[in-house]
Amino acid sequence: MASASWPEKGNRSLIGKRISRLDGPAKSTGRAQYAYDVNLPGMLWARVLPSPYARAEVKSIDASAAAAMPGVHATWVDEDLINDEVRYVGQIVAAVAAESEEIATDALAKIAVSYTPLDHQVDDNNPALARRPSDKEEGDLAKALDEADVVVEGNYSCPVITHCCLEPHGQVAEVRDGELFLWPSTQNVSRYADRLDDAVGIARSKMHVDCQYMGGGFGSKFGHDKWGIIGSIMAKETGRPVKLMLERDLELAIAGNRPSAHAKIKVGTKSDGTVTAFEGELWGTGGSGGYSMRAFPYVFNVPNLKTTIKGIRTNRGGQRAWRAPSHPQTCFLTMSALEDAAAALKMDQVEFYKKNLGLTDRPDVYAEQLDIATKLIGYDRKSHLRGDASPGPVKRGLGFGLHTWGGLGHGSECEVTINPDGSVSASIGTQDLGTGARTLIAIVAGETLGLPLEAIEARIGKNSYPASGASGGSTTTGGIATSTRLASTAALNELLAVVAPRLGGNADALEAKEGVIREINHPNNAIAWADACALLGTNAITKRGVNNRTEAKEQGFIDEGVGGVQIADVSVDTETGVVTLNKMVAVQDCGLILDMKTAESQVMGGLIMGITFALFEEALYDPTTGRMLNADMEFYRLAGISDVGDLKVHMMTGEKYEKRGVIGLGEPPVISPGAALSNAVANAIGVRVPELPLTPERVLAALA
């Protein structure tokens, strides 16, 4: 029997190679159909009416005038809001579906909503407004601070940012013969329809979800959301397909906020750089809902600590998971405070981190990564203590970020079919939110069956396929790789049993390699794949593989817990405050790498997203009206390709890492850039810019 264990290094045909995404050409030529691209005959366009008030009591909502407009086919009103409150600008109060987007837009203006405005609160940086603190204490903080040789204290801050998915949230819905067909932009195909049945009145077994491509989720597209309910109800009511996608302004204001994190931090160290004490008070907002923040302090488990975390409820859209929830914020807060301590000690940054690696969960990994990263950035040549002493207004500096993440593969089921004509399909109810799921499934199935990538039809994106977890927390790759490997191996073993009589009778002595089934010890005794499959007669082989994460971890298919080191090399114009990123290095481990190219791409994408929040992103609110002022892509800035500098990615390989099995990679690379860029700017200009993003106005304020 072929073993399901991952093949050894010398025995891999596809795994770990540099393989381009199977769907790259479809995406880059525009052939790939995203939810926004789904246009069906007779389709109606739905638009939603947002609350203009940050907080108000809703007295009545009258959509009758809108309903009477020619071209309008359905209206929807949130009855639950009547005599209740809207809690943020943009909260959906009503909706219309019409023949065209223009008619729907005009109809919204005819919906009469009676509001009584109430006082609102959008300020997220006033700790006095914070509630329900959660405290943590370890060791003896007072004693450690007392005995510290150096104590530094600082305030650090990162604002609410949005997910800013390039494809906004939404879906096309259609009801045919009592069954609901949905084309959503989602990162949760298998369970997208959960709880939609009650709201729409159609059984879940009659809901068909199809998402072949999606334009970004980053943690904000797990559920069907209110617009999923509205669109489905309207489709049922009208008997016509209904497209409901959010406009850019609502996408930014209501479809996902990453919570802010402001902190006052005190760090105590010994004169040799050893960190002994950490005191941190952290506050921020998760918008109108709760506030979730953890992993503080970050990576470094300081022995004597006291931390308090508390949330401020504001009249803003609610928080959603944002790529590595909590980590980018607490990484920035912690690593900034630690670097300030190193600067106070006049200590080299690398020496300082190495001195304290004992406080981390994986000192050896970080030590190895620090060595590689410093070499790649040219640390010996470029480094200096805090403050670039060279003449001229432009100062240059280097800064570090260290991060960690879990990434254990989620529950996943895969069905592999080997057909008598030799074709192979692997089907999983997963989705590709950018990690290359389709390609990775084909790699694992092809590797297992000894076939080229093109021989595998990887089917994803439908809830009719075997269920797989939501793509969140870097859990997808481990999950789908294992289920695909197990299903492929099971199918192969059945085929080997069929073929064995033709090749000496012993299935255990056979292998599938290079497009043939052959004897391991007599490779010339072989039968071509297609001929082998023809022996199946009329019966295809269909096998399922299940990733049970606990068992799979024990068996070495998957693991969790990675480390990463990033270094930013920045130039700061001290006369304009403009920060330019020259180069950034990311060194990352993720266990067994399935595709080196998509792994590196993943890290680059993470870097770009992280650089963007370090330099540009910030959701700005007007105190008087409670409105988001920059819910557009004009003043909600994202980095362009000319803003991100030279990116160098180094993936850790070798036995030590590969024997751990597959570990997810979506979150880790996005975590460190805030810390690395902030520390690099401090290293360049000699003072800390305490807030992200590192805008010119903040740099000038810090220098003033």
């Binding site: 223009e102 837009t105 005009d106 006369e575 304009t576 405050g577 403009v578 330099l615 540009f616 700005l620 609110y621 007007d622 105190p623 008087t624 009206t625 409105r627 002022l629 920059n630 557009d632 004009e634 003043f635 800035r637 980095a639 362009g640 390709i641 000319s642 803003d643 805008t695 010119p696 106005e697 000038l700 304020a701 003033a704």
Partner: protein, 322 residues
């Protein structure tokens, strides 16, 4: 969107006759980079839109006898940015145009549209009015004014002029020809005092047709402080022009006032002086005099000083273009 009548006349006379004499009744469509979004967002809701696309007005011509370069108002910003004559004589103008950064804006946006576009103030663009007043108070003053004016902001208008070319045209002594008159660039921009006023002296039924820039041999340059390298609005811009001996100096700032802002006290530092790093720094320091920052935009004074200093050094050939 409010339904409107659309007209695309082929002569300036008929275009003028199609325009109403009250602001808001009709709007002029040039490249559309501003107007189309404004219409879609309901910020502007005219009864009629008059397109200038059949009027030509898109040539750059040199008249050696008159000593002028004439730029048609419908000339795309990209054509201005890449024109050899403009680059040779008026680097301040070429740089101001090329700084737009976005290929789409460069190919679609027009020179006349740059001068007449409405402010990017986020209160205005979010439908809270050009002057952003609520209950008699300024939302800008009470709110987030990080990108607002530090000069000329004593009245209700706190926004900054969005024009990229205005400062350079004023510095170069340009004249703007309209369907009915000729207006010095220095008198073209105005600060509105009410919601029904606009940011230029143009009448509602008047069309800017061309810009004449004198070939006066002035050294000139534009320096812009910006965050993103791609499409982004500058924080502050300085356009300068002066004779080789420092005479006839003009220093004009952009994106710091409701109009391009002439910094005459900075020009006075330059006049007659041999340009040096020291003079450039003094000129920059003089440019920020009189600034009256709002609660969140004090940083702009430093940027003004830097932008002026660097523009002077670049114009004098003492520093490479940034």
């Amino acid at each position: 969107m409010k339904a409107f009548e659309y007209a695309a006349p082929s002569t300036i006379e008929s275009a003028v006759s199609l325009l109403g004499d009250q602001w808001g009744e009709t709007e002029i469509l040039a490249g559309g980079t501003d107007l189309i979004t404004s219409l879609k967002q309901g910020i502007t809701a005219p009864d009629r839109v008059v397109s200038l696309k059949h009027l030509g007005l898109n040539d750059i011509t040199v008249d050696e006898d008159k000593g002028t370069v004439t730029i048609g108002a419908m000339t795309p910003m990209g054509a201005l940015a890449s024109d050899n004559t403009i680059a040779r004589h008026f680097p301040a103008l070429a740089k101001a145009a090329s700084n737009l950064g976005s290929p789409q804006m460069l190919s679609t946006g027009t020179v006349g549209g740059d001068l007449c576009q409405r402010p990017r103030c986020w209160y205005y663009r979010n439908g809270m009015g050009l002057l952003a007043q609520k209950d008699g108070k300024s939302l800008v003053e009470a709110g987030d004014n990080r990108y607002h004016a530090i000069f000329g902001n004593g009245g209700k208008a706190k926004f900054v002029s969005a024009s990229s070319l205005g400062p350079a045209l004023i510095a170069l002594g340009a004249t703007i020809a309209t369907s009915s008159r000729r207006i010095p660039a220095s008198e073209f921009f105005a600060t509105p005092k009410s919601e029904s006023e606009r940011e230029t002296v143009l009448k509602p039924n008047e069309i800017a047709t061309a810009i004449e820039v004198p070939l006066s041999g002035l050294k000139n340059a534009t320096y812009e402080v910006r965050h993103r390298r791609g499409l982004d609005w500058p924080y502050a811009t300085a356009s300068v022009a002066f004779q080789a001996n420092g005479g006839k100096a003009q220093v004009v700032l952009g994106h710091v006032a409701p109009t391009p802002w002439v910094a005459s006290q900075a020009a006075a530092v330059l006049n007659g002086a041999a340009v040096s790093s020291e003079i450039a720094a003094k000129c920059g320091a003089a440019a920020s005099q009189g600034a009256a920052p709002l609660s969140k935009n004090g940083y702009k004074t430093k940027m003004v000083e830097t932008a002026v200093k660097r523009a002077v050094l670049i114009a004098a050939g003492l520093q490479a273009e940034g």
